[in-house]
Every structure is written in C-alpha cells, then in structure tokens.
Amino acid sequence: MANVKVTINGKLIETDSTRTIIQAARENGISIPHFCWHEKLSTAGNCRICLVDVEKMPKLAIACMTNVAEGMVVNTKNERVVNAREAVMEFILINHPLDCPICDEAGECKLQDYAYKFSQGYSRFGDDKVHKNKRVEIGPRVMFDAERCISCSRCIRFCDEIAGVHQLQFVNRGDHTTIETFPGETLDNPYSMNVVDICPVGALTNKDFRFKSRVWEMSFTESICNGCARGCNIEIGVRNNGILRLTPRTNDDVNSNWMCDHGRLDTWKHVNAEDRITGPMVRKGGILVDVGWDEAMAKVAGELKLFNKNEIAFIGSAFASNEDNYVLARFAKEVLGSKHIDRMSHRIDGGDDALLIRADKTPNDTGAALVGIVPGEGGRDIEGIVQGIRDGHIKALYAIDDDIAQHPELEKVITKLEFFAVHASNANKSTRIADVVLASSTYAERSGTITNFQKRVQRLRPAVVTLERERALDGLTMSRLDKFAAPNDSWGKGPRRDSRASWRIVAAIGNIMGGKFKYMTAEDVFTDITHTVDAFKGLTYLKIGSKGALLQ
C-alpha cells in the first residue's frame, strides 16, 4: 500500500495504490457510472459502462478493475468516453424490453437513469428482441424476469460472497445468457431479497411488494428494523398511511448494505393489520368497550391505587423504546414504589447466524435493561412475578408492548390477577384477558431510540401517522400525494388509529397518580435519560443522527 497521486477530471487526488479508479473517484465525490460493480462485492468487470480514458493507455480502461498508479491522469467525460458509453448503452438496450410501465424498478432503475443521462435516446436496432421467460419464481420471495436481466452477475456474487450459498448461476451463451438456480435449488437463503435491491434493473423484484405502488408515490422514512437485536438500518416506504415495504439503509457498523428476509417481510405487517387496537378500551361486563383516553387512564390510576405497592408488578418490553421503558421504570419505582419489574426474554438459542441475524428476537433488550427494566433490590424478576401471581402475592399487573400471555407459565396463572392493564398495538392473547387495553403506537408511528446488541443507540422515526400527529406539522416525510391531498380525495388517506406512544400513556397515568412527568416529546424523555443513566451521558438525538451512537 503506497500513497499515490492521480488526477481525475483535472482534480488532484491523493489515495493509495490498492484503490481502483472507480473507488478513488467515488471517495472523492466523482461518480463513474456502473452496473456490475458494487462496493461490497467482488469486481466482475462485465458491464463495460465504467469505461474511462487514462492518458498513455491506448484503449479506454474499465474504472472498476484498473488500479490507480502514481501520476495517472484519468478523464471520465471526454468525447471518447461519452461515445463509448453511448455505445455500451445501445448494446445493453438492444435486448432490453420496453417494460418500464409494468416494471416495479421504474423510478429507481439504474438502466433507466443512465438511459436518460448517457444514451442518445434512440435505437438503430430494428429486429425482434430476444424473448425469455418473464414470470419466473426464482425463489419463494423473489420474482425473476429474464428479459430484463442485463447479466451483471451482482445477484450471483451476492449469494456466493455475502449469503455464502451458491444458488445462482449464468446459463447459456451470448444474448441467450440468463440466470438460473442450480438444479434442485431455489433462491431461498435468509438474505435472498437483498438481490432485489442490488439488481440494477427490474429483473429481480420483491414478490411481496410486486405492483403495490410506484416508488415515486411513496414517502421514505429512516428507521431501524425491529426484527432482532441487530437493529438493521432501514427505510420505511409508505403510501396512503400504510407501510408497503422496507429496504436496508447502508450502515457499515451495523448491517452493511443488507437486511434479512424475515426483517424485511415480517416485522411491519402488524402496523397495517386489521386487528389493530384502534383506541383505548376498558372491560365492562366481560367485554372490552371503546372508551376515551381520559376514562381509560383514570380507570387504571383508580385501580392501581387499591393495591399496596408489593402487590403490583410491572413488565417492560424489549420491543418498546428506551423512552417507553424508562418512563415505565420511573413510574413503577417512583410513583408506586414497586420493586417488581422485569421484561420477557425472546432469545431463541441457536436462532442466530454469522451474518446479521441475532438470537435475541427483540430490538431493544440491551436498552430496556439499561434504563431500569430490571427488578429493584429484593424485587421479583419475571419468574418471581409468575410465582407471585400463582400464590396470590401479586394482584395487579401492568405490562407494555409485549404479549406477555405468550409466556407459558404466566399464561396459566394470569387470570388470577385482580387487575391487569396492558399496552398493545394489536389484539393478542394478553388483550383478551386484560381489564384495560391502552392502544400503543407501533415502532413505525413514534419517535424514540432503541439500543442494539452492540450497545449502539439508534433512532426510530415516525413513518405512519396516528390521530395524535399530523404529517406536515410533526415533520414526517411526505410523498407528493400527502402534500396535496384534499379532504375530498380518496388518496393520501388510509386509516389513522387513536394510539399513543407508551411513554406518553405511562407519563399521563403517572401524573394522575401524583407523579411529576413533564415530558412533551420523546426527546425530552431522552434528555432525562442522559442525565440519570450514565451510559447515555452526553448523547442527544442530533448526535445519534441517522447512523446511531455507541454507548459507553
């Protein structure tokens, strides 16, 4: 590794000799077009769109495979390069179908973008295009359209190098080249859907998102996957106030450019689901009845007052944010004086792998423990709480954002409780038993922070609006439709639920019972955390930013 000086488009760049031209240029803000090259994959050098002119080289060189050398002078946009690029585009487009109107990639397609930027706008090719299979289920979650494939081999390299399974390969030759799975194989590795993101065209598409929306009609919000303790950085795609897809966001400290299929598909369907708890409910005569927030919270406060502090237990949640758990812990310990507080574990031993997936299937176990969801001195842990309910010492239970009735032991004794309040976003086992159900917002509807297994604090941002928020006023990302929807339009709408962030509910009940919670926003809660919990000292939402911050 030696330091070298190269000139790219007249700009003098200092870099090291291990870099290729495309890398050196990219690191210095000069973009060179590319289809097959990907920063996280090996270099294939087969698309030829990255041709650049290097002085003293007789022919144009591909920037992705040519290493920089001392004194090299590179030009990425002179006439020779422009003509070569145009020619490459013309070759690629010869057999590319005019599918943009029915192709999900349209709007975020490299080929489409480059056709605008670098192509002459017409084709000299008059013959029939090669026809191939158009609706191939190449895997359980991925669709393949062979006509659209430009044979860049990114998907093959992803499977081989990142997912570590050899599932895809080129077959046939020349313009009949196509992608196939090995005999008896299908593209079903746990990371298979990343090929959809890296495919530069619409050849590989997300089966779940297929035809749901054009990308330019959606808003995208930076957030964090809630599928496990990794906390992959994601973008939430929303249209008409419903989530349509998740895509990974690059963060080299956490998830690189990838996310797992489970996270991509299974962690957000409940936000749009039919079984959402749409508002607070109180059980009257055996059935849950919709009531207003004031009534529900007064009911909880009134009931909790009836018990002595040793008879009340609290269960926080590793699915809830640091803020939610912190306020709950303060409420339990300061307002009610209870020491019985813990959370449920969702570890699946052996449920992890070497790439991203963690055995702990919750996003915030680390954070919940740090902000106080651990039994106080002499307090009961989760097993102790179960025991306490069984022998009648624990008579009231307050749980947030977790289906605690799933706990096999707790399930058996939970009906012995005299009072049971739960925060839930969707109907579940616990809400079927609870005396009061407080509608809490899902991770996609609230601000907050979660702490992953590396002790990295990352931010959740609201992508879907509830009744307590307004998209424009609360600074949520807006699609064009959100901006211009009028009351009489059928679009830009979608259901809005009367749910609230858990910390807000707990703080309000706490205040009824004489507590002093003066938080207006999740950020206020976080500021309080940074003052009282040492690990969080000195952090702010701004410092966490979009890439997160490590705790001490």
Binding site: P101, I102, F211, R214, E217, R480, F484, D489, S490
Partner: protein
C-alpha cells in the same frame, strides 16, 4: 408631470363632415346588415334538444379504452404522475394476462380534472384518451369520483379519437 407635458404634442382630429354629423347613413347601413342576417337560415343549435357532433380534436372527459373486454391500461401510473391537477389515482394489481399488470382500481376525480389531455399524451398504451363527453353533473363530491365502471369504454365507441391521435402524432 411637467416633464411629460413638455413632451406631449397636441393632436387635433379633423372635424366630422356634414354627412357624418347627420348619423342617418350609418344607421341605415347597420339596419341593412341586420335585415340581411335576419332572413338568412339560423346557426343556433337548440341545445339540449339538438346536440353538436364535436370534432375529433375535442377534449371531453378522459376515458379508458377497453379492447376485447379488458382495459388496455397497465396501471403504470404515468397519467397519475403527469396530471397537473392530481385527479387520477391508480392501484395496480397482477393479472394472468400477458400484460401482467392491470388497474385494480382506477379513479379520476372529475372535480379536479381540468381536461388538459396530458394523461392521454403520456399514456404508453393509448389506454386513456379524451372523449367527446362534456356533460358532467354531480350532486356530491363523492359522485365526482369516476371509477372503472364509468371510465371504461369499448374501443369501438372511441375509434375516431384514436385515429385522430395517430394522424396528429
């Protein structure tokens, strides 16, 4: 002000002649035109009993062209994107047909539509075109949301417009 007055030049028009001052010849001239027109055949169309046939270039309300019983539209959403009034909403779905994609829902808010014809111009399938229809009556905003039931028209009914579009391309 002074400055402008300095520059202004008084112009005195010639006085009217005696005949012009009489006015009568001018009145007679006018009467002559009125009388000749009075006895010519009428050009007024007695709407709504009589209706004009609009030229093919006329832009009435947009409709969806159906061929062999299904709409041509592939739900690409380009019309919705280009529509300056944001009148169109398309929800795509998958179909067994060769086109793969079809509009599960297609709605034009006729209160928003300004009859600009951009949707027709942008459509890659000649699937949405401007019709001859201009009589739109609603009693509520809901009624003004035209779904596929009101939009889809068999190709036979709109041939002339399609021919016109081909010619004028």
């Amino acid at each position: 002000m002074e400055k402008y007055l300095e520059k202004s030049v008084p112009v005195r028009k010639k006085d009217l002649s005696f005949w012009q001052k009489l006015y009568i010849p001018a009145i007679l001239q006018g009467m002559k035109i009125t009388m000749t027109e009075f006895f010519k055949p009428s050009v007024t169309i007695e709407y709504p009993e009589v209706r004009t046939v609009m030229p093919d270039s006329f832009r009435g309300r947009p409709i969806l062209v159906a061929e062999n019983g299904t709409e041509r539209c592939v739900a690409c959403g380009l019309c919705a994107r280009v529509c300056p009034a944001l009148a169109i909403e398309v929800q795509a779905g998958e179909t067994e047909l060769g086109k793969e994609r079809y509009p599960e829902r297609f709605e034009i808010n006729m209160v928003r539509c300004i009859f600009c014809g951009f949707c027709e111009e942008v459509c890659p399938e000649e699937a949405i075109i401007m019709s001859q229809e201009y009589e739109l009556v609603f009693t509520s905003q809901k009624e003004a949301l035209f779904g596929k039931d009101k939009l889809v028209k068999p190709i036979e009914e709109v041939r002339t417009r399609l021919d016109f579009l081909r010619k004028s391309r």
